[in-house]
Symmetry: C2
Subunit: 356 residues, 2 copies
């Protein structure tokens, strides 16, 4: 793994997006979100997505020049149509809109339809927290990866849910898929030739698949078995993760007017949906008492003695924040395979290749 | 187990609440919610709670005659103080208030502080769904039961989360604790002398406790180890269940202005907090398209072929609804031990004993 400065990675992403034809302001926002995702250690959702975005453009599913449009609006709500462009810039706009609605009405809800991949959900929830608000974000996903409890095929996406809250110190930022693990984690185990823990991936009979190569191949097929919902097995309450995945599908899919992957024509654009909720603590009491109460919860948890001395008790967001500090200092590690993929994207689109 | 008609169970609960001094309308609502909880098969949260409520009254922590008061209100938000009474009637009011706010503003949020046990969270989320709205409910809990990922002691409650959505057919009703299982499930295994699945309960070193007696005793102590957050172990992503538990604590505790159990004086009233969110799909498009989209998701899942022929793929709420139909017909099973406990409550409070 070579290390690349965040600034160089950002410039490389920006160069590609610009050459593809994304408008300047949107490209700047999108590159900013993507590099923050890499800085946070969520490597599967940052610069590594460029080849996938290129394929979506090539198949005419992603409209990189499109401008989002607000199709329905009331003082506390809005519906935004991303018009088949990438989700990042539209979601920054949507969460800022939800936040300003929350500041005026105590609460704001904005949904987004006809969108695409948007990186990591936590980034958008944190926009609300950074403004002193509570933020909740959910999103549908493109691929069918997760098998319902007792099911035999993948029907649900990894349907992420993110929640952020301000505190007197660092914010709380929960960003989780509603599956036990994400597809990428299986890929990493396959890459290392390591067996999977039982409960990550299930076959069509509901049995654990522990051979990481077999598991990854099976996931690529989207036909049999799939990732388990959070909980892993029915005995360990996977019906809860399954229920959360459906909740996300209802909020970011049905409510937003976006697609449900099993019922969508695969030739159509992805029509991914997002959901943003912002709540202003000032409508529920003294906002400083609120941040103090959140801080008291987080401090209590962080100062708890660990069951294992090497591994401190963390709260959601701590790991990503530490990773960000580390990578800002040392650089972002990119594998030579990924750098080569980016080089191909640049060469194909005639963008300047900066990672040499 | 003897079977008792729902009507008789309701009358028994009502008789006790009335003798305790709860106002007539509130007592009728509370008894109605409690018997619905028993009908749904959530036996730990219905009539079986009467002895626990009696103890709270005896220790002057529960003010059974108190009237809730709305302490802060705006068009889309409100804060209700339950004034240390039981949570049921206040939460019916709070969710109805959130629903009427959602109908006017597209979204409504109502929080409740200084409350007590309220039964099953799903009941309140379903109030919104029955009115054609989306409902989200969370609540803090009284006891410290759940150990944070990597932690050695229980610091969090089982912090339930419920979400309901209307469809053209039966609604979707997710009602889950954010722990792998509830304390009561461990109690049932102990009662049967059955070993626990590894991952339900952890000791202070983070290891699985599978002896159900030892596990139940440990949970009663609230000192060492505890229930695992949803996910079970760190390898199976228990940090997600842990994160959800903290999210619930922030919404229903910090935002509502209610207590965080580890920082509360145990002599004080429980100061449980609740959070209600209602969203009107009509603010996001045609409400009939919305219910059709939800129905399409639920129908797709329900008609999915099962990995095991005996166990059909369900969606959240199906199990409880079937149980309700069954128990309305056959009656609610109550153990002789529970009936005896209710008899003692009646005898102590001089309420009529109807389960003879």
């Amino acid at each position: 793994m070579e290390l690349y400065s965040a600034e160089l990675v950002r410039k490389q992403i920006l160069a590609v997006l610009s050459v593809w034809g994304m408008a300047a302001e949107k490209a700047a926002i999108t590159a900013g979100v993507m590099v923050e995702t890499d800085l946070a250690g969520i490597d599967s959702h940052g610069i590594s997505m460029l080849p996938s975005y290129q394929r979506l453009i090539d198949s005419n599913k992603l409209q990189i020049r499109a401008d989002p449009v607000t199709v329905l609006e009331s003082p506390a709500t809005a519906v935004v149509d991303a018009r088949d462009n990438l989700g990042h810039a539209t979601m920054v706009y949507a969460m800022q809109l939800a936040s300003s609605k929350a500041r005026e009405n105590g609460v704001g809800v904005v949904t987004v339809r006809r969108s695409h991949h948007f990186g990591a959900a936590g980034y958008y929830a944190k926009i609300a927290a950074d403004a002193g608000l509570l933020g909740l974000v959910t999103s549908t996903t493109r691929t069918k990866a997760v098998v319902p409890t007792r099911g035999s095929r993948p029907l649900l996406g990894t349907n992420p849910l993110a929640f952020a809250a301000p505190s007197a110190g660092h914010p709380f930022v929960l960003d989780m898929s509603t599956s036990t693990v994400a597809v990428n984690k299986v890929k990493v185990y396959d890459y290392r030739g390591q067996d999977l823990p039982a409960g990550w991936v299930l076959d069509s009979l509901g049995n654990a698949v522990t051979d990481s190569r077999a598991a990854y191949t099976q996931l690529q097929g989207e036909e049999q078995g799939g990732l388990s919902p959070l909980g892993g097995t029915e005995l360990l309450s996977s019906h809860k993760g399954y229920g959360l995945a459906v909740m996300v599908q209802i909020l970011a899919g049905a409510l937003a007017g976006a697609a449900f992957a099993p019922l969508k024509d695969t030739d159509d654009a992805d029509d991914i949906g997002h959901f943003c909720l912002a709540i202003d603590p000032a409508s529920f009491g003294d906002p400083e008492s609120f941040t103090a109460a959140v801080s008291a919860i987080l401090d209590t948890l962080r100062s708890e003695s660990s069951a294992s001395q090497d591994l401190p008790v963390l709260v959601a967001g701590d790991k990503e924040r530490r990773m960000r500090d580390e990578r800002l200092e040392a650089g972002i590690p990119l594998s030579s395979a990924l750098v080569e993929q980016v080089r191909l994207v640049c060469s194909k689109s005639e963008a300047e290749f900066l990672l040499s």
